[in-house]
């Protein structure tokens, strides 16, 4: 079928074509963003490392584990490293400036989290500094912190006795190769954490949030998990050892109905643009009855006129899809940065891009259907007689 004719048809109603294409742009953009959000919500499960296990209290996420557990866990076969990993829950200056901070066993952290790559400062400097901190690239950029800066963090769970802030020295900045392990995290020494707590609240305040371990290659995780759980079967704090994916899942499920809700919104968006596209194609069909009659009289077959509408709709919607995806790509980084504390992993995947384009083309196909069928069934005699 003549592409030139399709093109001319589209240009013959520039406002209509632009508005329709615009609707598709907006919708595909929105669908991409929504899908990326839903994917990101689950990304911490998808991207979890298979060789990392987490030991947490079986009672509650908020019940810490005794420090005495660490050496016992280290005895279990198949474990390479065990590190303390304690949620600190502080903020910088204002509670709005919220991001993740963890007190960690710094020495083995790089072994357990190889996705971190130090791009500024040095890991050794971090290890050597008592109040040292290792921070993510996004965090550094957001608050304009650089190596050598002293960062005050107010502890909400662990306030200082004098009511002041904890102070950390930025010694190194990491980039993350794992989108689900965000770059908005601050890590500092568990030893320093313990030192302060012991001095201000006494030795009974000392505990670790969770233990994270890296298992040896070839080790069966379930065996290790069972062995660790068995160690503390009779208290004082029972534990629950899971894979990192399972550990992350408990946070993801907290989003509750939100992913479903977002999917529903996506469905409505799809419905709305489908109607918009159908509306446009019906208008196009209606005003072209006579032209189609002439073409059929000339000898153009049903297939050709059918294709005329399909190609037109697909070109129109496909263009909208391309632009929409391009917009989504454009906002990807800003959104990812804005969301990274709450929800790392906002990455526009190839799959999402393809899905966005497929939706656009699909909408075009469906929208073309009614006028295309009508056109292919049109009898030239009647079309020519029609008063249009």
């Amino acid at each position: 079928m003549s592409l030139k004719l399709v093109w001319r048809f589209l240009l013959s109603h520039p406002v209509r074509s632009i508005l329709t294409c615009g609707s598709i742009v907006v919708a595909v953009f929105l669908l991409c963003v929504l899908r990326t959000t839903v994917v990101a919500l689950g990304s911490s499960i998808e991207a979890a490392a298979a060789n990392r296990l987490v030991v947490q209290s079986s009672v509650s996420l908020f019940v810490p584990l005794p420090l005495s557990y660490q050496p016992k866990i280290e005895q279990v076969d198949g474990i390479e490293h065990v590190i303390k990993w304690t949620w600190f829950g502080g903020y910088y200056k204002d509670p709005q400036n919220f991001f993740a901070q963890f007190a960690v066993d710094a020495a083995a952290t790089m072994e357990v989290y190889p996705e971190m790559e130090i791009t500024e400062g040095s890991y050794d400097a971090f290890l050597a500094s008592r109040q040292g901190a290792l921070i993510g690239r996004d965090l550094a950029e957001k608050y304009e912190w650089s190596v050598g800066d002293r960062v005050p963090i107010i502890g909400t769970i662990y306030p200082r006795a004098d009511g002041g802030a904890w102070e950390f020295d930025v010694e190194a900045i990491y980039d993350s190769r794992n989108p689900a392990f965000g770059e908005q995290t601050l890590l500092f020494h568990h030893t320093y954490f313990e030192e302060v707590l012991k001095a201000e609240q006494g030795p009974e305040a000392l505990a670790a949030g969770v233990y994270i371990m890296r298992i040896e290659p070839g080790t069966e995780p379930t065996t290790v998990m069972a062995a660790v759980d068995a160690l503390f079967e009779s208290g004082p704090q029972r534990v629950q050892t899971t894979t990192e994916a399972e550990f992350n899942r408990q946070f993801v499920t907290m989003f509750g109905g939100i992913p479903t809700f977002l999917s529903w919104i996506g469905g409505s968006v799809l419905f709305a643009i489908l109607l918009a596209a159908i509306n446009t194609m019906l208008m196009a069909g209606r005003e072209r009855t006579r032209i189609l009659g002439v073409m059929k009289a000339m000898g153009f077959g049903s297939g050709s006129v059918f294709a005329l509408f399909v190609v037109e709709a697909v070109v129109l919607c496909g263009a909208g899809g391309l632009i929409g995806v391009a917009f989504a790509k454009l906002v990807e980084t800003p959104i990812a940065v804005a969301l990274s504390t709450m929800m790392p992993g906002f990455v526009l995947t190839t799959e999402t891009i393809l899905a966005g384009l497929a939706v656009a083309v699909g909408v075009g196909l469906v929208a073309a259907l009614v006028p295309a069928i009508a056109a292919s069934r049109l009898r030239p005699v009647e079309a020519l007689r029609a008063e249009v």
């Binding site: 609707s23 907006v26 996420l61 019940v63 829950g89 909400t156 907290m254 509750g256 409505s268």
Partner: protein, 389 residues
Amino acid sequence: MALVPFKYTLRSLFVRRSATLLTVFGTGATVAVLAGVLSLNKGFEALFEAHGREDLVVFLRPGAQSEGESAFSDDRADILLKSLAEVATNASGAPLASAESFLAVRLRKTDGGETNVPIRGVQPATFAIRAGEIRIVEGRNFQPGSDEVIVGRPVSERIRDASVGDVLTLNTTPFRVVGIFEHDGPLDSEVWGDVERMRVALKRPVYNRVLAQLRPDAEVAALAARLEDDRQVPAKVQTEREYLRNQTGMLSGALQFLGFFLAVIMGTAAVFTGTNTMLSALASRVHEIGILLSTGFRPMAISLAFLLESLLLGLLGGVVGCLLALPLNGVETGTTNWQTFTEVAFAFRVTPDVLVRAVGFALILGLLGGTWPAVRAARLDPTDALRRR
């Protein structure tokens, strides 16, 4: 100025009914999404803010954002419980104040998986403070000092072993469920038991917050200022309503942003569709407009007729959107209170306020969609219009 008869507008919508329907439903879907987000937010707000009382104050450790982060040792809690002049007293002169423990405990859901359920240990004074607010709807209240709990109705439905007669094991201690309670606010999502028994079972050496009812003449601000850097017991003091508002701030903000974002983006698409429809209405009526103009109707009247038609499309879209959103009313959903990482159950609330805003939004869409076609209609040259077709 003579107006174009309203009949023309109605007839035009009817004649091009496929375009009318497609536009109305397209707009309807957009409006329904907005109404959905608004009613989600309404349900959430209703749960938290609307049930926070102004005469109750919550004492937290300074710097704590929520009770999960807060802690008071026994002696400090005792001072707060007994020595504040602002706190109301009961008939026998005892202060209406209660120390509570709070922990998000991992429990298994009836449909599989685990979730964090807030377990609150309370003192008997809590029930005096919340007289009438907490309703036992099944079974009875727990006996002070015993290993018994009562659970909120939604919890009893969602959580395993949480019906009357069941045994709920917390860490290593079994607690018997003896009653189901209802609360119109967020307390509905909790499990309650005796605070001392809870502290033992969960190995918690501290209280998490103190709750107190104030005398009617008490000044919250003054009390807050005084305790902020009290030497003996520094505490952060908020009314319960304030406290709950701070709890929901983040999610409420997120929902409002989502609603706004969707309204703008989907609204744009809806305006485009509306403009398209009205432009095609214009195109198919050029001749008719020529006749109207030549019989003496002013271009302004023609413009108004188009705008009116577009507004009517918007209104219909708004009505359809509301009808689509109405079934959401009362649908229960769950999300998390990100301050305490606990599950909260709440329902969509399609209130009149939500509907009014949704229809208003639809009318704005109609207005925007009709503007350009109306301008074009006003600019038509009568002789040219008559000649066309």
